[in-house]
């Protein structure tokens, strides 16, 4: 489904990704782990099409189509979904309006008719229950005044509404208490399907207890330095990154 070959990317002239290679097939769940500053979030943003990052080399294809030539919104319509690490607050745009506009943009792309307000309201209420969000939040501004956990649940809710081919979850577990983690994980597990792939980016192993990956990759210094099954995550939990010859850049920086 997703094929990444020798991907290099920079931000403000500084190279962050230094040759990523990754193949993800439909139905698979991949986890990318790594220390801070290793390039995990950059990879997510580059795949979603954030123009702040410049791809300098390599190729990315989604079902054979060159992803890098597509605008952000076109990638989304082709089935890329990024759950943001830091979802944006947009006062003045209601969640309902935002979600309905997004769902209808997707439907239009697929040649389906738009959903009217009443149809959409019913769908949105059903899905919000799935992630344990009070439907009253639909009337509020996008992520406005949401707690960290509510924001993450809203991201998963969007994935459930938009039904992407590839869902990229960027640190979707960060800042969640154990109950919220359970809710979010249930939502993500509900996304698992034979025709869908999931790419989880995470710093910690604990999310992987709830969403069991098929493959685990270790990203360090802008490259994937080790890949394995889910047992790799457990090993990382136990031994840290040191045994792979990686120093945590954050730890290194704070030591300086």
């Amino acid at each position: 489904m997703l094929s990444i070959k020798n991907l290099h990317a920079s931000v403000e002239g500084k190279e962050i990704l230094k040759g990523i290679n990754l193949e993800i097939k439909a139905g698979e769940v991949h986890a990318i782990m790594g220390p801070n500053g290793s390039g995990k979030s950059t990879l997510s943003q580059v795949l979603a099409g954030n123009e702040a990052f410049e791809v300098t080399e390599g190729e990315v294809t989604l079902n054979g189509e060159n992803l890098l030539e597509l605008e952000t919104e076109e990638r989304a319509r082709e089935g890329i979904f990024l759950a943001f690490q830091y979802p944006v607050e947009i006062p003045g745009v209601s969640n309902l309006q935002f979600l309905r506009t997004a769902v209808n943009a997707m439907r239009q792309h697929k040649g389906e008719g738009e959903m009217n307000a009443a149809e959409f309201m019913k769908l949105a209420k059903d899905v919000s229950k799935q992630v344990d969000l009070d439907p009253a939040f639909l009337k509020r501004g996008v992520n406005e005044g949401f707690s960290g956990g509510e924001k993450k649940r809203n991201e998963v809710m969007q994935a459930l509404l938009l039904q992407p081919k590839l869902a990229i979850l960027d640190e979707t577990d960060s800042g969640l208490d154990i109950d919220a983690l359970q809710v979010v994980s249930n939502g993500v597990n509900a996304l698992r399907a034979e025709d869908r792939a999931i790419l989880m980016v995470t710093h910690y192993q604990r999310l992987l207890n709830h969403i069991v990956p098929d493959y685990v990759h270790v990203l360090a210094g802008g490259r994937i330095v080790k890949s394995g099954g889910r047992e790799l995550a457990l090993e990382l939990e136990e031994r840290g990154y040191g045994w792979l010859g990686i120093k945590d850049e954050e730890a290194a920086n704070s030591a300086n």
Binding site: E71, A76, V93
Partner: protein, 428 residues
Amino acid sequence: MKSAPTLSAAFLHPAGQSLPEPLLALRKQRGTALVDMPLPTRKTENWKYSSKYLKLTDEIAISLPADRKSGSSLAVPGYKVVFLNGVMMPEASEYPDLSGITIERFSDLDDDTATTLAERMDSTLDNNAVQMARLNSARFEDGLLIRLAADAVLEQPLFIVHEVTADASGSAYPRIFVEAGRNSQITLVEEYISSGSESVMVNTVTELALADGANVTSIRLNTEGENVQHIGATGVRQQRSSRFESHCVGFGGPLRRHDLQVRLEGEGAECKLNGVVVTQGKQHYDNHTTIEHVAAHCNSEETYRNIAADQSHAVFNGRIHIHQDAQKSNADMNNKNLLLSNGAEIDTKPELEIYADDVKCAHGATIGQLDEVSLFYLVSRGIGRREANVLLTMAFINELVEQIPVAQVRETAQARLNQFFDQTFEGA
């Protein structure tokens, strides 16, 4: 040294001699006072950002003809008074006989009423601050006097449609005076529209006197053409426990200027002033507001938003003056501005003058652009660029548009906003 430009004598010849004698006398006296009046320049503080847009040619000085019988075809849900080229047109106006409410044109006033009106005209405005609107007092023709008796309530909005027909150059001087009696209630909608393409000026003054407990909502919508210079002033005086609410929605033009002056003269009076301005191309819009807290225990709340695209220019100047005796005043002024292009300019200036020591007075002004991160968030959900830009721009003013209490005005404003979005975000 080059002498400062003065008002051309061509502007001092009013049309329409059918007014009652006291009004003719007032007009003449105001005209005399304007002889050799210096025109604002960029050194004139309250016209600093706008004087260069003012184009007063002698062709514009001529009164536009008001002989068309038909008047505006604009359909409105409510009562309607039509001004054509500054002159009230009874034939085109539609309103029933309403108990406690008189709606009269100046030429129909009896002598006593005209004398009283002449005494009160200009009393709501600080004439030094609205120098260009003073021209209206020297030029007004058949205007409108609305009087609400005590406890009179107008159930439907009264639309006042100001239409100018710019088939030739000239100017129009609509004039309105509203006397809202004790505990009376009215919603006025002033809509400014135009047809034709010659260069014209609308110079308009609306005055409102609110007695104790009166409740007046004033809505103002400017959608005139690119050939229309608009200079307007609204003066409001509020007595005890009265409430005034203003909603101004303005689209830019070659010159758009509105001075809104509110005097809170009776204890417990309150006002709420909302404004939305949208400019594009090389358009201009300048809002100057003044709130005078004269009496104690008064509240004022002011929220203005400007959006400027292309090479356009918007100005907001908000003055709050809290007098020495106005203890326990509560004043809140907020102005936010959105620049949609690098070539656009917005100037904002809050002015606070406070002489009482026990008051709450807050003000804030910001200027920014659409947030790139928010934009990325929206398009990453498959929402198109144009739609995402529109959502974020509407988010900036939604709250104010939704507060406009007359649905038709919201719809007209939204339709104009959609045109603006089509032009501003095309190709996005």
